[in-house]
């Protein structure tokens, strides 16, 4: 959890940090919201192929992603925060994936799990129906390489996503947008 501080340490001593717009209250609220959001990532039940089995493995007793509070897998996109694209996306599936992503309420996150979702993976050459990377369809937050990635890799990706969320501005962003 100390990455924030680590980053500050790396910067040169004379660095002038711009104060967070809104001051202490808003910053603290941001922290609370981000804490809640990062610790309550409910994934959408969405698996297209092999990686879905590793996703199921991540839920099982050995890897047990419920430790982090991820086990509330929702079957409806309306209640999910996170879409783990586990498996190849083909041309026929791409509109469906886009639709699912659109149906999710903000804030929403995407993890591209496996080589297929990064670039088409093993199905890159000589295929006529595979989407070469899921980021052609929806924006991706975290990529996990592997064919399929191990459950530990998925857990790592989700923890990485938690880190990412912890640095997100919520109130501050709204201010920046109006500027």
């Amino acid at each position: 959890m100390d990455i924030k501080d680590e980053k500050l340490k790396l910067e040169f001593p004379g660095q002038v940090h711009p104060s967070a717009d809104g001051g202490i209250l808003v910053t603290k609220l941001d922290e609370v919201i981000n804490w809640a959001r990062s610790n309550s990532l409910w994934p959408l039940v969405f698996g297209t192929s092999c990686c879905a089995i590793e996703m199921m493995s991540a839920a099982d007793a050995k890897y047990d992603w419920s430790r982090f509070g991820f086990e509330v897998a929702r079957a409806t996109p309306r209640q999910a925060d996170l879409i783990i694209v586990a498996g190849t996306i083909v041309m026929k599936m791409a509109p469906v994936l886009k639709r699912l992503y659109d149906q999710m309420p903000e804030p929403k996150y995407v993890i591209a799990m496996g080589a297929c979702t990064i670039s088409g993976g093993p199905f890159f050459y000589n295929t006529y129906s595979v989407v070469k990377g899921v980021d052609h369809v929806i924006p991706v937050d975290v990529y996990i390489p592997g064919c399929p990635p191990r459950p530990e890799a998925l857990l790592h990706a989700m923890i990485t996503l938690q880190e990412k969320i912890k640095h997100e501005p919520y109130f501050r962003k709204a201010k920046e947008d109006t500027k």
Binding site: A36, D64, R67, F68, R78, Q79, P105
Partner: protein
């Protein structure tokens, strides 16, 4: 020490009442103030309760499923539900474009409000009751069946076929199981001769009805547990939100806080039915007494009444959770078969037996 144990909540409430009367004077004003205080306390209690139940559910699930359950957020994962709730609060609450927007937004409130209303006649401890009305049981069973209106509204207004199917299932389910619940409650009403919750609790001074009432009461207790599990839409009767069939059933289109309300009402309902079962069949806050064993009864009285109440309630909650994590789900026609072909005839015959026991005075 003895003073502390014998302390009754009645003292506290009367102290507040006299304090308020002293400062305000106007009876109506005092009543309103007291109501507001009670409401706020109840809301706080319900929120904490649903946090706890959510946490308990996930931990019980983990226990059944040989895993650990939440353990990263807060000590032993206890803040997991808080994080979930805060997240849901700040999540976008979508209203689908093609939905009936008024009903869609109203439905979760109806569901929550009805389940909160049932808390009114609950006797949490000796002398600790919000409203000891004389038709307590009737009130509980009539109010609790109103929640289905909210569910039907949610399902219909979502303009989603899964929601509609879920709501229809829920409607059929609650309307049928309401009968069994009513009949099993009536069996105790017959024995007690009163609908007032406090009378029912007091009638179990020399032993809980479950033990006093012979086999018929045990049968109605089992029927009550089955039927109330169905009434609150929990597995194995969770057809209204059957995840593997209807994705999320009637709340498929709900997101953010509106969805959290459904979750909240689910947990409140779970608590309510368990509390009723504990009150009616297991003596509510009444300690475990055996007939005329004065010494034993006296020792039991040392355990605070609220502990008795919550202990019993949470035991029943645990049993209902146990159901959820072990049984497969019924099919919709089997669900109705179970009610109309088995539970209802059994409870009707049971009523006769209970009446016989009551008339002949065979109970202890």
């Amino acid at each position: 020490m003895k003073l502390l144990l014998a302390y009754s909540f009645a003292n506290l409430t009367s102290a507040i009442h006299s304090g308020l009367s002293g400062s305000m004077g106007n009876e109506t004003l005092v009543l309103i103030t007291e109501m507001v205080i009670t409401g706020i306390c109840l809301l706080g209690f319900l929120v904490i309760l649903s946090f706890f139940l959510g946490y308990m559910e996930r931990k019980v699930a983990a226990f059944m499923q040989i895993r650990l359950g939440p353990n990263r957020v807060g000590p032993k994962g206890s803040l997991q539900i808080v994080a979930d709730t805060v997240k849901l609060l700040f999540k976008e609450g979508l209203t689908p474009d093609a939905s009936d927007k008024f009903l869609f937004n109203l439905a979760p409130f109806i569901v929550v409000v009805t389940s909160m209303l049932v808390m009114a006649p609950m006797a949490f401890a000796k002398g600790f009751q919000i409203w000891d009305l004389n038709i307590g049981i009737l009130y509980v069973s009539s109010i609790s069946s109103m929640g289905v209106i909210g569910i039907l509204m949610a399902g219909w207004s979502s303009n989603n076929k899964y929601s509609l199917l879920g709501a229809m299932r829920s409607g059929a389910q609650i309307v049928s199981y309401e009968l069994s619940i009513g009949l099993s409650l009536i069996s105790i009403v017959i024995l007690t001769g009163s609908l007032r919750i406090s009378d029912i609790v007091m009638s179990q001074q020399n032993g809980w009805w479950l033990f006093k009432g012979h086999i018929p009461v045990i049968i109605s207790f089992i029927i009550f547990i089955i039927a109330s599990t169905a009434e609150i839409n929990r597995a194995p009767f969770d057809l209204a939100e059957a995840e593997s069939e209807l994705t999320a059933g009637f709340h498929t289109e709900y997101s953010g806080m509106k969805f959290a309300m459904f979750l909240l009402s689910e947990y409140i309902n779970l608590f309510v039915v368990s509390a009723i079962a504990a009150t009616i069949f297991l003596g509510g806050w009444m300690p475990f007494h055996i007939g005329s064993w004065e010494g034993f009864n006296h020792i039991m009285d040392y355990i605070p009444s609220s502990l008795w109440f919550f202990g019993k309630t949470f035991f029943i909650i645990f049993v209902i959770m146990w159901f959820r994590w072990t049984f497969p789900r019924l099919r919709v026609d089997q669900l109705l078969n179970l009610e109309w072909k088995y539970l209802l005839p059994i409870s009707m015959v049971n009523i006769l037996l209970v009446t016989l026991i009551a008339i002949m005075g065979w109970h202890f």
